[in-house]
């Protein structure tokens, strides 16, 4: 490479033209003007977002620091509401159920969704119809699903308890027994959520190049090795994203629980969001209720950050 060409490339890398440095001030002023224009253009949107999202957040934060009611802010109590919430048995019981509900909801729906996505990837007859049918739990409004599940399990004469009785399993009280109620609510969540996971996984699976599998087969990899060595790593990024989203959905899920059990029996299925709702709108304790909501938010952010790091890690690998 000649010295003149090398010099020109060096100038180009430094942003200097072949003809010389030119007038540096003019483009910088132009850039500044452009940035200002852009800022002015997006300013209304930023203000709108701040107004819509920021104001309620600040207002709610203020409520969590006061002993108020639904219509009045009340006396400032500092962090008392947070301290009271964190030392209450009800909060920790709800937190424990939230963890169980979230773990079962995320991984249960993911496993089911992954399995069905893999099944639908194979050539089966009427796969399009199956896909539509499998989407129904997600498409149908949760209030309808909850009513249907209630019809199936609520009373001893409901279809599922009668089936259990016919099979000699006694008459299980699916919503009246605390343990069974917790299991039923978690299963309901998995049933409502698996189509979402199936869609996410199906989408990720279509992006995996088929030649990778052909190469693996030629190298003698069996189906299990292909699944663990190729499929899972290649859809890892999408999987982590779906886990993050489903975690947020589960922790914030109010209707699934509230419509089926109301948080009962005896708080066996009370999650944090249900507890927050009941504290504010049934006990009329605004400060503690909003404090619970903020604690939930903080926890969710931490979990999301951890999972997001995992995404970055998987992207680098």
């Amino acid at each position: 490479m000649s010295a003149s060409v090398e010099g020109a490339l060096g100038k180009a890398r430094r942003g200097v033209g072949v003809a010389g440095p030119g007038r540096a001030g003019a483009p910088r002023r132009g850039m500044r003007r452009g940035a200002l224009t852009l800022l002015l253009l997006v300013l209304p949107s930023i203000l709108l977002v701040l107004l819509i999202n920021g104001y309620p957040l600040v207002y709610a934060l203020n409520q969590s620091l006061h002993k108020g009611s639904l219509i009045a802010t009340g006396d400032f109590v500092g962090l008392d509401n947070y301290a009271n919430v964190l030392t209450s048995d009800a909060f920790w019981a709800a937190a424990r159920f939230t963890v169980v509900f979230t773990v079962v909801g995320v991984f249960g729906s993911w496993l089911l969704g992954l399995g069905l996505a893999l099944l639908l990837k194979t050539r089966i007859p009427a796969s399009g119809t199956f896909k539509v049918l499998l989407l129904l739990p997600w498409v149908v409004p949760v209030v309808v699903s909850a009513t249907a599940w209630n019809y199936l399990v609520a009373t001893p004469s409901s279809p599922v308890p009668r089936l259990a009785e016919a099979l000699g399993l006694g008459t299980p009280l699916f919503l009246a027994n605390p343990t069974l109620a917790a299991i039923t609510v978690c299963l309901f969540k998995v049933w409502v959520s698996f189509p979402f996971m199936m869609l996410m996984t199906s989408s990720a699976l279509t992006s995996v190049d088929g030649t990778v599998y052909e190469a693996a087969q030629m190298d003698g990899a069996n189906r299990r090795q292909q699944f663990t060595g190729i499929t899972l790593p290649l859809i890892a990024r999408s999987t982590y994203i779906s886990w993050i989203l489903m975690t947020i959905f589960c922790v914030n899920d109010f209707p699934t629980i509230y419509l089926l059990t109301g948080g009962g029996p005896v708080n066996a299925t009370t999650s944090l969001v249900v507890l927050a709702y009941r504290t504010v709108f049934q006990n009329f304790q605004t400060g503690p209720g909003v404090a619970i909501a903020f604690l939930m938010t903080a926890t969710l952010v931490v979990i999301s950050v951890l999972l997001y790091r995992q995404i970055r890690k998987s992207a680098v690998e």
Partner: protein, 446 residues
């Protein structure tokens, strides 16, 4: 609250790491916060504000048949104010999220001038300075002769230290009902004491019937209200005669022991703890419940007006006490009104004319005015007339055995403490004293 799954899952992440960590954090925090705070946010009020314009905004709840609100609106719009009084404007507020609807509207000064609402709503808003007291209105009622028309004991519970927080419009009661055909079929007679009830109920349970029809599942307060009725029936309640919270009493313990006996004898359905209103209504409709505590409109509510569902006679407790839980639904005025005189003038008109709604049989509740009770149309509703005759005189409010209802009653009725208490008792868990001690502690924390 929106369904979380309806959030757009594709928004936060763009392909190949174009989302920064900070952007992602903001987004996830925002998503979480908004969803959480949505649980605590108001749903907005209505269109009419009590504090502005040239009309009196009247917000009314669905108190009965769907035609009720249409008829109530017609009654409102046919009001012709005299002098400088303002006309009234009607708006229906659904029960779903009504607490949020009122709270957000009142907080933003877009609420009504006059409204019906939750049974204890007036006490709450009076405590927060939003209620216009009804003392002057009641004075007008005295000169107009309406005051003496109220059934005994229906006005006094609304008296607070600062004045009357509301005026009663309807009575809702929790009374014992039974299915006559089952009693006839089994050759049973109606019990008049708890002891007799236990014998009858045991017989019914042996035949596969529920003799304590109840439910305490999602959104169903029948279980807790039934238990309060039992406590009152045995001369108990949450308060003592000095109006102090006093849940752990011998009478209350005795009542819970009796209920535990019903539970262990199979008289209370073990699944009832999770029954929603629909589940319980189905049990009544299908003839699986032979006896139980319910509101005044059971027959109408489950659509069985054949006359087979009948109101039972009050049963004396172990010490001879009679009693049941009584709600006094009411109408209240707010300080945020374009004209207090107009609010009162409208209510005077309302009370003089609202008997027509009972004549049309549109309400589930019971009238508070003797003149309406005496109407032939109301007397034709045999079960309701019977409730007024035999149960209303022994009805007590949530303040029992005291007589002062406070804002706290709103948090007790339908709150976490009472719901947990009912579910604990109906699921047969816990010692009676310990259960009541927990209830006392939970109510004190409200």
């Amino acid at each position: 609250m929106s369904h979380p799954l309806h959030q757009n899952p594709s928004t936060p992440i763009t392909p190949r790491g174009t989302t920064t960590r900070r952007g992602f954090l903001s987004l996830s925090a925002g998503t979480a916060s908004l969803a959480a705070l949505a649980a605590c946010g108001g749903t907005g009020g209505g269109s009419a504000s009590g504090g502005g314009g040239d009309t009196i905004a009247f917000w009314d709840m669905p108190w009965g048949e769907p035609a009720y609100n249409t008829a109530a609106e017609k009654l409102t719009t046919t009001y012709k104010p005299t002098g400088e009084n303002l006309p009234a404007e009607y708006q229906t507020v659904q029960w779903n999220n009504f607490t949020q609807t009122f709270a957000s509207a009142i907080a933003s000064n877009t609420g009504p001038a006059v409204s019906t609402g939750g049974g204890f709503q007036a006490y709450q808003y009076a405590e927060q300075g939003a209620i216009a007291y009804a003392d002057d209105l009641l004075e007008t009622f005295k000169t107009d002769g309406i005051y003496d028309d109220f059934l005994p004991g229906t006005i006094e519970p609304f008296k607070s230290a600062d004045g009357y927080v509301a005026v009663p419009t309807q009575i809702d009661m929790r009374v014992w009902w039974y299915r006559k055909s089952i009693f006839d079929q089994e050759g049973l007679t109606l019990p008049t004491t708890w002891e007799e009830y236990l014998t009858v109920a045991t017989t019914l349970a042996a035949k596969g019937y529920s003799a304590y029809g109840t439910g305490a599942g999602a959104g169903n307060f029948n279980g807790s209200q039934g238990l309060v009725t039992m406590l009152i029936n045995n001369g108990g309640g949450f308060y003592n005669t000095d109006n102090e919270l006093d849940c752990v009493t011998d009478r209350n313990i005795e009542t819970l022991d009796f209920v535990a006996q019903l539970r262990s004898a199979g008289i209370i359905d073990p699944a009832a703890v999770s029954y929603t209103t629909d589940n319980l209504n189905s049990q009544w409709r299908d003839g699986k419940v032979a006896m139980g505590i319910f509101g005044a409109g059971l027959d109408n509510e489950i659509g069985d007006t054949s006359g087979d569902l009948r109101v039972a006679t009050p049963m004396a407790g172990p010490h001879g006490d009679l009693g049941c839980l009584q709600y006094l639904n009411n109408i209240m005025m707010y300080k945020n009104t374009p004209s207090q005189a107009s609010s009162e003038a409208f209510l005077l008109y309302w009370f003089k004319n609202y008997g027509t709604l009972f004549q049309q049989k549109l309400l589930n509740g019971l009238p508070v005015l003797q003149s309406v009770v005496d109407l032939p149309e109301f007397q034709a509703e045999a079960q309701k007339a019977e409730i007024i005759k035999t149960w209303q005189p022994i009805g007590k409010t949530f303040a029992a055995t005291g007589n002062v209802v406070s804002a706290r009653a709103a948090a007790i009725d339908g709150g976490q403490a009472l719901n947990e208490f009912a579910q604990t008792v109906l699921s047969g868990g816990g010692d009676s004293r310990a259960t009541l001690e927990k209830l006392q502690k939970d109510i004190e924390a409200l």
